[in-house]
Symmetry: C2
Subunit: 122 residues, 2 copies
């Protein structure tokens, strides 16, 4: 282990209604509200919606770069699930409670059912 | 566990020379070359360099959104370390070998020494 352990990372997979897993705009508004609510600072982002075609019904991918590290989501409406990550460093303060809070809020927003969750102290 | 397990995620922390941990431009060129070499598709990205000031000597954060999921790095030159993530889904093919290949290439590029590594099948 390094002397300096930057923070807590939660990796989760959850099941959710397919409509929410296709709605990148609502997810963007939700993430921006979370960044504000938890006093984080967004320094960049990328959202990409996949077309609804023979390969799938149009999920999306989002990654947000934060001063505190990042969060990401990848959705698979065809499987009714999403993979979610939130990792916040403890540079200015201990953000472990915020990591858990953002994950809980995300699960609630998507009306999700947790399938797997891994916490990594890193 | 869900019926559908999207892919392999490697989370690592490595020590590296501070100069490389401040050089976002070189990292960007390196990541773009990796995306090309491994036949991945970048669909968005965010790079942010922190100013060199009393709070630290100017690390950077990068997140790349890929069709296949994402990769990210956060550097702390003041601690001589970086946290790195690569997560690739198996939507079109099994990308586990690519995940390990990109991590190995990243460690080599930064002349890094692995401190911690976690593999999560998710």
């Amino acid at each position: 282990m390094p002397d300096y352990t930057p923070g807590l990372h939660i990796l989760a997979t959850f099941a959710a209604p397919p409509a929410a897993l296709r709605d990148a705009d609502s997810c963007r508004a939700f993430f921006d509200a979370q960044v504000l609510a938890f006093g984080l600072e967004k320094v960049g982002e990328a959202y990409h919606s996949f077309p609804a075609d023979e390969a799938g019904p149009g999920g999306f991918t989002a990654v947000l770069a934060l001063t505190e590290s990042h969060l990401s989501i990848h959705t698979w409406p065809e499987h009714g699930l999403a993979t979610f990550d939130v990792f916040l460093s403890n540079f200015r303060r201990d953000n472990a409670a915020t990591v858990r809070g953002i994950y809980a809020a995300t699960l609630a927003f998507f009306e999700g059912t947790e399938l797997t969750k891994t916490e990594v102290r890193r």
